[in-house]
């Protein structure tokens, strides 16, 4: 359930410094997401597609992720054309659709997909651990990076813990449906998962204290920001400034 299919690889984007990628992704995403122009949204999608190509992302997992992103967008396509209002109406059989609503839904679809592809190409090409250390180098509070790295580290463990509880419930003929018994069982399963994680966290904390934990994680691989990284950063910032300029104009 929890995996990082895009983090393995040796493309240009995989080798770029995570800290640089975080800033670039933030700048580009903000400039595209806040734009109200179709040109910028389209150009953003193009830039995002180029990044995905450069990152040599596997197409299967990427398509599946895009499908989840577009579920909420689908809701907008259902409601906005019917309720968007505005003067210009489009006739479709007996339905009167709002031109403004259709335009808004179209713009949002372009922007959402562009930003999502961009984030995948830039951020998912690093492991979460690398992103965490990148954030630390960008001077995020130390506690926040510890929270991020530890939460991520134990996701898989706790998922296994939950699955084991769920399996033992199945072995005892538990079958979920819409009734109070099902909800009580799920409530207890979740409660037990919380207790197990709490117990585990105390053991981990003791083990960490014993090994001299003082509130920081030492970093084994020191990432350096090279000339290529800075060039990449400059390029991304220029593109996002251009997008912002085009939006304001």
């Amino acid at each position: 359930m929890i995996s990082e299919p895009f983090a393995v690889g040796d493309s240009l984007l995989h080798r770029t410094d995570p800290a640089v990628k975080i800033i670039s992704a933030m700048a580009l995403a903000l400039s595209i997401a806040t734009s109200s122009s179709f040109q910028v949204a389209g150009a953003g999608l193009l830039v995002a597609a180029c990044c995905c190509y450069a990152a040599e992302l596997p197409l299967g997992p990427l398509a599946r992720r895009l499908a989840t992103v577009n579920i909420f967008i689908l809701l907008l396509w259902i409601t906005l054309p019917l309720t968007g209002g505005g003067g210009h109406m489009v006739r479709l059989g007996s339905l009167e659709l709002s031109g403004k609503g259709i335009a808004l839904a179209g713009l949002i679809s372009l922007k959402a997909n562009a930003v999502y592809l961009l984030l995948t190409a830039l951020l998912s090409t690093s492991t979460i651990a690398a992103i965490g250390h990148g954030l630390e180098r960008l001077h995020l509070p130390n506690k926040l990076t510890i929270l991020l790295l530890t939460t991520y580290r134990y996701l898989g463990r706790i998922e296994l813990e939950y699955k084991r509880l769920r399996r033992s419930a199945t072995l005892r003929c538990f079958h979920g449906s819409t009734n109070l018994h099902t909800y009580r069982t799920y409530g207890y399963l979740i409660g037990m998962t919380l207790i197990r994680s709490y117990e585990r966290s105390r053991r981990i904390h003791q083990a960490m204290i014993m090994r001299g934990f003082t509130g920081t994680f030492p970093v084994l691989i020191q990432q350096r920001t090279g000339t290529m990284d800075l060039l990449f950063l400059a390029l991304c910032v220029c593109i996002s400034l251009l997008f912002s300029f085009l939006t304001i104009r």
């Binding site: 209002g85 399963l189 966290s201």
Partner: protein, 204 residues
């Protein structure tokens, strides 16, 4: 309950970001180094629990559990939820980076609210605790949906009907969250009551 990228306007995104940063800063102040690992693991447990699909009528829904997070973690739920949302954006593509602030406010704001509203009830015994837990689970989702609707309508008036639809669609989830939160709290109260006082022990 996430909002995707590219929908909200700049003022809403900036406002959400600012509130999220303030909340996260307050939350981090409430976590000391001795409890950061406990907070992290509870936060991964909530992440896993939010992926669980619960049968409801003909289909199934997945839980949010921000009410439960709020009851257990108090102010620490803001950085915990922000972290979980960041991970969800990177791992599954739910939500996103520019909307991280807004999503954090939408989910963590109600968590802190129910901590103050129903926390005292949950530390009592018997029926009061059960009612408090049910209300915490239900009200957290209600407030989250209202905040989400507000963010949508604040961006563009054409979202008014989408927001109404969203609010109506969340009513079954509100009841379900209330019931599940109630059972989780009753279980914790019997098996490990110290967890219910976790936040007051971390920052007395």
């Amino acid at each position: 309950m996430h909002i995707s990228e590219g929908i909200l306007s700049l003022p809403i995104l900036a406002g959400g970001g600012a509130f999220a940063i303030i909340g996260t800063a307050i939350g981090l102040k409430h976590i000391d180094t001795d409890h950061i690992i406990e907070t992290s693991l509870l936060s991964s447990a909530f992440f896993v629990a939010s992926l669980v699909h619960i049968p409801l009528g003909p289909g199934s829904v997945h839980l949010v559990l921000n009410g439960l997070v709020g009851i257990l973690l108090g102010w620490a739920s803001v950085p915990a939820i922000a972290t979980a949302l960041f991970l969800q954006a990177l791992l599954f593509g739910f939500g996103g980076l520019t909307v991280l602030g807004v999503n954090t406010v939408v989910m963590a704001g109600p968590a802190v609210a129910v901590y103050y509203l129903f926390g005292p009830m949950i530390r009592k015994e018997g029926r009061t605790r059960m009612i408090g837990a049910f209300c915490a689970g239900m009200v957290a989702i209600l407030l989250s949906t209202c905040l989400l609707a507000l963010a949508l309508v604040g961006t563009d008036r054409s979202f008014l009907d989408t927001a109404r639809l969203l609010l109506a669609a969340q009513i079954p989830l509100m009841l379900l969250e209330g019931v599940i939160t109630m059972f989780v709290v009753s279980f914790l109260a019997r098996v490990q009551p110290e967890l219910l006082n976790f936040s007051s022990r971390v920052h007395p």
